[in-house]
Symmetry: D3
Subunit: 270 residues, 6 copies
């Protein structure tokens, strides 16, 4: 792992722990953040030893969202022609989206462990993760509405698939802050924990559990669920049939079967 300015990354027990590491700025997402997250997830994708990922925030909060300085600097680069500005803004937004697409498209499961503030762009980020867990006193808000804009790096696109449509609209229109238990009841997080220590312990445990499974099976499973978010059931059935046509010839199936018969824990190659 190379040195990152906005992150701290540790690999242990086949789990990569990606920590947003600007606690003095409430982990606000600055230019380093948006660029480095792509590199980190490319490394995760390319490193066979990484089998699961946990994202968390250093300090008391997960993240306060996009750095407002950075947003302001985008505005200052605009020129006199509305059309050319529009093209520039459109490409800038697509570029920022690419940072969270890297999380969404990652071949390994990504778990978010959320304490304290999780605001604006931080909601966009956790919407791109596979699963979300939080402390009971975590605070979630689709803050973009309060800076006069529609959220544009993923919240409005991915969150409706995760929480109910009706509540989705209320949160997006009002920017209302919800805490851990309400988040859990609407499916935004899978489970809440009493405090940040219990949270990290719990999430790491789930990640290690996932890391012990066949990586071939985990990757196939993730790809299929990702695919179904946007495709038809019949297409999905054809896709898994084509995928498993190769993967069922993998050794992992035999390893798992043998372990199952002998009541032992299977060991899968990376």
């Amino acid at each position: 792992m190379s040195d990152y300015k906005a992150f701290n990354v540790v690999l242990a027990d086949k789990v990569a722990h990606v920590v947003i590491n600007r606690p003095e700025k409430v982990n606000a997402m600055n230019a380093d953040f948006w660029r480095e997250i792509i590199d980190i997830f490319r490394w995760i994708d390319d490193t066979d030893e990484v089998r699961a990922v946990v994202i968390s925030g250093a300090g008391k909060h997960f993240s306060s969202g996009i750095d407002l300085m950075m947003l302001a600097s985008v505005g200052s680069q605009l020129g006199p022609d509305v059309g050319r500005n529009a093209e520039k803004l459109r490409r800038k937004i697509l570029e920022l989206q690419a940072s969270f697409n890297a999380v969404d498209n990652c071949r390994k499961p990504v778990l978010a462990a959320i304490q304290g503030y999780c605001l604006g762009g931080a909601i966009d980020l956790i919407s791109a993760c596979d699963m979300r867990y939080s402390t009971v006193d975590a605070q979630f808000s689709i803050k973009e509405i309060d800076i006069g804009m529609a959220a544009d790096v993923g919240t409005l696109q991915r969150l409706p698939r995760i929480i109910g449509d009706g509540m989705m609209r209320e949160l997006a229109f009002t920017g209302r802050t919800i805490e851990g238990e309400e988040a859990r009841s609407m499916g935004l997080v899978n489970r809440t924990y009493a405090d940040a220590d219990a949270l990290l312990d719990g999430v790491m445990g789930i990640a290690r559990e996932i890391a012990s499974k066949s990586p071939v099976a985990i990757r196939g499973t993730k790809e299929m669920i990702r695919y179904m978010r946007d495709h038809r059931v019949d297409d999905g059935l054809e896709y898994i049939a084509t995928w498993n046509a190769a993967m069922l010839q993998s050794a992992d199936l035999r390893v798992a079967m043998t372990a199952h018969m002998s009541k032992q824990k299977p060991e899968f190659a990376d």
Copy 2:
């Protein structure tokens, strides 16, 4: 606002309150209702001062659904040729659907405040709203099954996105009546209130909150969530990037930023 036979419409505090106003008929949806609702929502779309909408029913009930007299009169217009009847019925159904499409496609958020009966066509109507709120003793039923037909003005199309698929099917197949709390637990309504007064107070409060936000941001947010109901995540990301390419050049962003810095409440133009 012009005079309506089936509705009463009031605009105050930038919120349009649309009241179904046939309490002596349990607010059954007659020919006036289906025609006027289109005019009302065209007016809402065209009137910049309207920034949010609340729909409710006058009297003890929200609405008992389509007026059976009206349904009977459609039947009486059929002729001897099955094919030509089919064309006539198909166009009539598409025409009725257009009335609720006007609600669904409205550029401003629409909140339903539901007390008492909410039956048959009334479920189709609230499924086309953005958010739903009710009293604890409200009664919901997909009544169409009991008059021997599949619901055809929107319930079967929009409700599966709002409540769970499994419960959706049970309610549609059995026509079972559920009350406020069960409705809330399955995501049909966002919140329940003790009685009709508390309900209207609460919903108006949420509507006014929404009306105080940037109208440009609210409309963009609604358009994006509407779009995601039927489109892929990657298409949605491209769409918001194209949309915000223009909207981020709006003054509202600066107004919101400035207010944010000075800790004041922003005032947005209509």
Copy 3:
């Protein structure tokens, strides 16, 4: 009803009760199972008297999923060429999927009554049913991950539409076992019952209720909800308009209306 090896099928009160009948093998799904289920559902589709279907398992458990012997025998038929093996496996998977597609595409509502184990392939099966009900102590697990493969006969394709996306991924990645109440809270089952007797009583009651409705209306309703799982709202509205163009000319509408007026229970032809 002909004789089946893996099933017992009874038709009473217009409800077909399909019992997986290999209790000594924990109702594991063997070759007979996969072949016979297609025949059974073709018979259900073709028999007007059947208006609703209940699937359950004989003995203490619903089903432990695919018979591992059968899985092993597929593996033993592979040859030396990876490409030709892939084609063979792909076609075999598509063939197994067809068995549960027969459940999914059945024109009559299918209710699953689940007690004891519901593991691996059994989750694929219940995901293809319309509604699911269980005992409080039923045990559900997406077991495929533990035999080193991605589930490929429907769980990953159909279940995300039924339970939340976040919990879906956790269950699929970890294979964690959940019981009745947790299943209910995430929408996997509609209701839980104290024990297997209460369960069957309850589910049969719901099935008989459905069987008493207009079969034309029930079939239209099911087709529309099935269609909406994979289609856009505007396409769905056009589809129901085309469908009801014929169906509203059916006698069932008049039968229901007349009964409604006279406050009597309607009797619909099969």
Copy 4:
């Protein structure tokens, strides 16, 4: 038929002839044009006697496209806020598109007869017709590129389905003018005629031929081809099966069969 400012409309032999009637302005599309065309096609849809439609232009040319005065007046209504201007322009474009959607969605076949200039907006219009026929010296050009904009009322959306993708891009990027024969060779028009008289004679003949067929069958055929432009083959097959479920019960089938047996020309009701 009421009086129109931009059109002349004649109904004879069950064919509606819609003539763009501003020859002194090369049939440029002004505000009257965009509004009246919607009324005309609503009348066509509602009038059973109309079974086919021919669109042509009065004088030497079909049409020179959108009236530049009208385009300029849109520009003059813009205010100081880019975001609010964008919303206004977006709605204006959608409004103009609706005029040609009325042609595309018309239930009866629409044939364009094109002589002289067919430029810019005129290409958008004929792309929304069912079939196109022209004189050999007709001149076609996607002129929008030369006024500095991407065509936005239908050419870029509908034409790629009609002519080849490669030639589509060349014409759209260069605005190159092509004549009748080249238009025919790439599928833009179905046939060319020596001059305007032969053209109108020929097209009217085809329209009358279509008007003599079963209107139920013609409407079903058009709906199916329109549907296939945007849908999958399997969805299309299911849709025609649902549609014909009603339409094959029409008298027209018997009328046609009987005529076929007796070698006589069938007469279908409107």
Copy 5:
């Protein structure tokens, strides 16, 4: 090959020749035809030795389409209830469609060799084939319009992807008869031949050429082109990547490479 009533089937040189064999009835498609074609294509799919298929008609004509007697018999089974008739007709149409879906979904390329009449249902059939070839004097007509119905077994769904949209509509609305050369110029057939003998010689030659290629590669190629008819480019790219992930591990690639290096003709296993 078993005995068929409506067909004659011969396998030689790895090419299955499927001959419609009711020349005394102009090869009209009767109940035997619709049932047997499914069996034949299941056999083709399951028989590794078959690597390409040619369909032709015995006698002077390819086929006059659906047997009118059969159509009449469907009508005679209808009862008094429009709704139940509609369901019956819908299922019957879906059943007939399944016969041509078997051709469309066949894993091996299917070539149609067409002489004389190719009318109505015969157009539906050849639209489901991979490629079409004809004599210069073959006669094609979408005849359904003349029996008062919209074609419902595939022409309107598959043909628009093969010939231009504008000409498609003209042929479907008018039922106009076209001959070989016009068919070729619009892409309906790939090539024309002077007479039936030259046609069969030519088509058999192309089929044998295809049969000499790697069957793994041919099947992958067909699946991909079939898939692209209904899917997006990005989905198609992902699908071929998943497919070839297994298939590039096949021996055929090495066989072809080796032959290529040594300038010899490769021999592929079935």
Copy 6:
């Protein structure tokens, strides 16, 4: 422009000329080629001065397709586990596809000028271009079938949208070589030229013509046509309305209008 090993790139008159520059290897696509083409098109996208692109091949041929050495080296990296090999191959194919996606997604129009051989991977490449032009004696072949594989870098996905479906299948199944005129008649190339000099002259002329238009309008036009390849007409109409909401506020419209009025050639900013 930096130095490239497999290409030579020249920018003149706002047209980037990208020459595949390995004439001694018949411009076979080696590892350098696949990597550098991404860099080149990123540079093109980022360089406002480039307004159109021409791709051609140095020497007598356009390109013989993928370098077989490179293909062989991929094979040599495979290990013993079929499943892990499949994942590796899948990612490798996606990586190669990305090289031609860079061409397809380029914001500026890309014209291919083709002489001599255009085989295998070269067809994949030109399918990703906007327009294609060739000499009369150019030779095209979907060569992949002859090395025992289904083409997997774009031909099977993009070409069916460009040439007819029937001919597409013949070329893909047989690998038959066609020359310039046949290519033109099926829409594969837009025009043929007598020899390589005339070809380059002609294509450069078209590219310069495009480069003289409003770049804002050209980019919008390309984006819309690209979008329509995979989307519905109604989605496309909404997309252009959203796009033009910003772009019609660009100065280019005024520049073009003013030039139009004064009969002068407009000059657009990059």
